[in-house]
Every structure is written in C-alpha cells, then in structure tokens.
C-alpha cells in the first residue's frame, strides 16, 4: 500500500516534470519518421523482396529487418536516453527537506530503493511498449507478416534498462547530483561496457591484428565478465526476435547477477547513511 503510493509518487513526478510527455512526444516523432522510412525507398530491397517473394522469403525479410531494429545502435541510444532522464530521480529524492520527511514515514529504506527501481522500470516498460508496439504494428501491417516474437523486444529492452538503472541509481546515491550521475554514466560507465564488448568480440574472433599482453587480456576479460553486457543482450534479443535458438546465455546470467549486486549495494548504502 505504502509502496504503491510511493511508486505512484515517482510517476506523478515524471508527469509533472513533463518527463513522460517528453518521452512520448519524442517517440511519436520517431514513429512518424519510421512510417516515412518504410514507405520510402530506403527499404527498397525489403519492398522488392516482399512483392516478389514467396511466403518464406517474406518471413525472412521481415525477421531480418526487425533484427536490425533491435540490434542497432539507435535502440541502445534510446535506452541510454531513458537512463539520462531517470538519472535525476535519486538525487532529487535526496534533496534536503524532502528526504527527511520521506524517511519519517512508515516506509523502510529498503522499500524506497525497491520502489524507485520498480517505478523507473515501469516507466520505461510503458514507454517502450508504446514505441516498439507501434513499430511492430506498422511493420506487420505493411508486410502482412505478424511476427509476435518481436514483442519480446519490449521486455528485453526494459530488462536492459533495469540492469543499467541499478548502477545509475547507485551513482545517484553516492554523488547526490544529477549532473554528476549523467557524466559518470556517459563518460565512464557506458563507454567502458562498449569497449569491453568490442574487446570480447575481438578475442573471440580469429584475427590477431593487435596483440594484448596476457595480463591486459585477462584484465579486460575480467571486467567484461563482471560488468553488465547491454550489447550482448541486444544480440540475444535479436535472436529471440528472429526466433533463432539463443546461443549464449552467459551475458544474461552475469548481467542479472550484476543487477542483483547493484540493488543490494543500493539498499545497503541507503540503509546506513545519515540524512
């Protein structure tokens, strides 16, 4: 009950600060652009395939197209922008005069952390349902092939968001500043995970253009393994969407583990801190 009121409060904050309307406005623009794109020549190849091809060819084409959507950089950038938007939640809550009152209420600090986590996740779930749901309907209506698996991507991207959000929250608790939280994420956290992803892909390939020393390689692998793997998760998401068997579950397991550790750290830190 109290937890529900708290989550509702976070949502109301998002509404009042025009965060929700901004997200929906921005996503609507994306959807309109998308409508132009698929009626335009940019996907001529796809259209040709659709017009000429057999049923198998059509399915193939739609799946390929949809997997491009979910595995591309634009989707990651959307997740990143959602993280930027939600970066202010924790620092705003910690402002003097507000946190005192909040903590004097019969709601435990652990519930406050969980409430914030759930509220952020819910906010993004709603937003991505709108965006990806619309895209799905557009593509399906255009092509006539309704690939229900594409809808998994809503859950995947919400999950990717939550995993990264658990770390964003911790940075928010530690820095108590929105700007710092955003900077640390943009300049340190996301680039690091991306470089580690590239490094890992490189290690798994046969090319050995650049040679890392054994220590460097071990270090890179170590950090790759403990940090969340948003990029790998996007690849896994593409596999889900195209209905191909998932080849590697390690990124899922380690990312979820990372999230659990981050959430525990959030709860531990918030529970011992004076305000």
């Amino acid at each position: 009950m109290v937890l529900y009121a708290f989550i509702k409060g976070v949502f109301r904050e998002a509404l009042a600060k025009r965060i929700l309307i901004t997200i929906f406005g921005f996503f609507s623009v994306l959807i309109v652009l998308f409508v132009f794109a698929i009626t335009n020549s940019t996907v001529e190849g796809l259209q040709l395939m659709l017009e000429s091809g057999s049923a198998g060819g059509l399915k193939e084409a739609v799946l390929t197209f949809e997997s491009y959507i979910v595995s591309g950089i634009p989707m990651f950038m959307l997740v990143a922008s959602m993280l930027i938007i939600t970066s202010s939640f924790i620092p705003d809550m910690l402002k003097k005069g507000h946190i005192d009152l909040l903590l004097s209420k019969p709601i435990s600090r652990t519930k406050i952390v969980i409430g914030h986590f759930l509220a952020g996740t819910l906010l993004v779930l709603v937003s991505f349902t709108f965006l990806l749901g619309s895209i799905w309907i557009l593509v399906s209506a255009k092509t006539g092939y309704w690939n229900v698996s594409f809808l998994y991507s809503i859950l995947w991207f919400t999950a990717i968001f939550s995993i990264l959000y658990s770390a964003v929250m911790l940075i928010g608790f530690l820095s108590r500043s929105t700007i710092l939280t955003i900077m640390i994420n943009m300049l340190l956290f996301f680039p690091t995970t991306f470089l580690l992803y590239l490094a890992n892909t490189y290690f798994q390939s046969d090319q050995k253009g650049i040679v890392f020393g054994p220590v460097a390689e071990a270090l890179l692998k170590f950090f790759y393994n403990i940090l969340p793997k948003a990029w790998d998760l996007q690849d896994v998401c593409a596999q889900y969407v195209t209905q191909t068997p998932v080849t590697n579950t390690m990124p899922i397991i380690s990312s979820v583990l990372f999230m659990c550790v981050m959430l525990s750290l959030n709860i531990w830190y918030f529970n011992k801190k004076d305000y």
Binding site: M1, V2, A5, F6, K8, G9, R12, E13, A16, K17, K95, K96, G97, H98, I99, D100, L101, L102, L103, S104, K105, P106, I107, S108, K272, D274, Y275
Partner: protein, 308 residues
C-alpha cells in the same frame, strides 16, 4: 509512561574532509518525555536540536546511546505510523497542490484514500489553508508553506508530533493560531515535541523544556522550575518610612528598589507572612507581592553565557 526515552545519546559527525576532526552534535544526552506533554527543546544555532529529532525519527543514526519511541527502538519503522513530523526548511515537491501534498504524504503514512477524503480539508481548515487546497504550492508564501507543513504533520492523527521551528516565517496572528492548534492537540492527549528559538512562545505553551548547548544537555525541567529563581519575593507598598526601610534591610535581608518596593529572599511561606504581618502592624499599605520569575529568555541567555 514515557513516549520518548533518550539514554546517553551521542552523535558525532565527521568534520572537514581528511582532518579527522569530529563535530560533536550531541554528547551523552538523556531525558524522557511523558505522554500528553508539550515538550520544548531549546538551544542556540547548531546546538544539536535538529540532529536529536532526526535521530528519533530514524533519519540520522546515533553514534552511541539509545532512543526509544513508545517503548520501541527508533529503528523500528512501524512506530512511525504514530508519529508526525514537520522538518525545518521542508521542501515539498512544488508541482503539487496543497491538497496533493497532504494526499501524498498521508498515503505514505499508510492512510487510505477514503480516510483522506474525509480529513484533508479538516486539517487544512485547522491551519487556515482550506481556500488554498487546489493552488500549486509554488505559489505559496513562506508562512503558508509552514501552515501546510503543520497540516501535513497532523494528517495521520499521530500520537506524537515533532515540530522543528513550526512558527518560522509565520506572522503573529498565525503564530497565535498555531499555538491554539497545538493546545488543542494537547487537549486530545497528543504529545508534542517542539524545537524553537522563540522562547516567549515556548514559555506560553510548553509543560517541560530542555536546554541544549553545543550538544550537551544543560538543563531539563518544567518551565516553572527553570524560570523561578529560588525564592525571591517582590513587595510593592505605600510609602515606606525610614525606620521600616532599615528594619527591612537589617532583619529581612531585603534589597530596596526605591520607596515603594523591595525584594527579599525567603525560604518558607511562613516568613512571607511574617513580613506581611509586620508591614500591616505598621499600617503600611501593601499593594501587592509576588514570587519573582525570570523570563525563560533571560534565564536561557544567562545559562548559555555561563557555559561559554
């Protein structure tokens, strides 16, 4: 039964970074607050008043010592259902209206929507803000925010209310209104814990006060005890002849304040009456006599100056 029990409560904050210095916000403070009391905590800026309240509410953690509310340790979250709080410099989310502020914090206190529908305006009216319920609080003045904060603190009908400078920024009429609200709460058997600098105000409504200075408890007791200065009596009379003045000086160890007034330090009521008998036997007209009281303010200033 004690509603608040504090036992050698100590709080040290770390001072400047890397200096290893400690700020001693509270140093072994102990006292109790009984059920139904209006308790005033006084002290100069930085004495540790807010820190003490924050520890009692689980917002800050004590370095040492124990604190209990309703016989339960302050770390127990469910105790807070019975507690209301008006923080100093509170900042409500400014996109809300007054009504929504009450609604939001009421729900966080565990109230249901149906309860809130009934009580929100009752409390807003009590603090004179019922006409402002649907206005966004960013349009409120300082005193209006303070009144709203008070309504917020009362919304869950708590048995214990902490108010940190409740009359800060409120005009004199508003202050009187707030005092009346507090006295009304007391008459309902609520316990009120008040932090304030406004000593005259504290004097008007508090049953018991504690004085804190640099984190140490200097004095605790009823307002009566703290302000009465031993047994000093002041007599005002008709014109005193020379011989009577001399007798007052020598026999009763009095101090004269001119021809019509003197004060004496007296140990028993019997002695007071002896003086009255003497004056009457000399046909001196007694205009009045009273036990002298220090104002809380002069008392406070003396105490703090002594300590420093």
């Amino acid at each position: 039964m004690s509603v608040i029990e504090i036992n050698s409560l100590t709080k040290h904050f770390s001072g400047k970074k890397f200096s290893g210095e400690k700020i001693k916000a509270l140093e072994k403070v102990s006292f109790n607050v009984g059920n139904g009391e209006i308790f005033g905590l006084l002290g100069p800026n930085g004495a540790g008043k807010t820190t003490l309240v924050k520890i009692l509410l689980g917002i800050t953690f004590a370095t040492e010592g124990t604190a209990k509310l309703f016989d339960k340790p302050v770390t127990n979250v469910s105790v807070k259902k019975k507690v209301g709080y008006l923080p100093e410099n509170h900042r409500f989310p400014n996109y809300l209206t007054g009504e929504q502020v009450i609604d939001y914090f009421g729900k966080l206190s565990g109230l249901k929507k149906s309860d809130l529908d009934k009580t929100t305006y009752k409390y807003l009216k009590m603090v004179g803000m019922d006409e402002w319920g649907t206005t966004k609080i960013k349009k409120y003045s300082k005193g209006m925010m303070q009144r709203l904060g008070l309504a917020q603190a009362m919304i869950s009908n708590p048995d214990l209310i902490f108010l940190d400078e409740p009359t800060d920024g409120v005009d004199p009429i508003g202050r009187k209104e707030i005092r009346d609200v507090l006295l009304d709460l007391k008459s309902q058997g609520k316990t009120i814990f008040l932090n304030s600098h406004l000593l005259s105000e504290i004097e008007l409504i508090c049953d018991k006060v504690a004085i804190l200075n640099k984190g140490e408890l200097v004095k605790v007791g009823s307002v009566e005890d703290i302000t009465s200065t031993g047994n000093k009596y002041i007599f005002t009379t008709g014109d005193l002849p020379e011989e009577i003045m001399n007798k007052v000086l020598s026999e009763y160890k009095g101090t004269l304040h001119g021809k019509n007034e003197f004060e004496c330090t007296i140990n028993t009521l019997e002695e007071v009456n002896v003086i009255v008998d003497y004056l009457r036997s000399q046909k001196i007209l007694i205009h009045g006599f009273s036990k002298e009281k220090n104002s809380l303010e002069s008392m406070f200033i003396n105490l703090i100056e002594q300590k420093n």
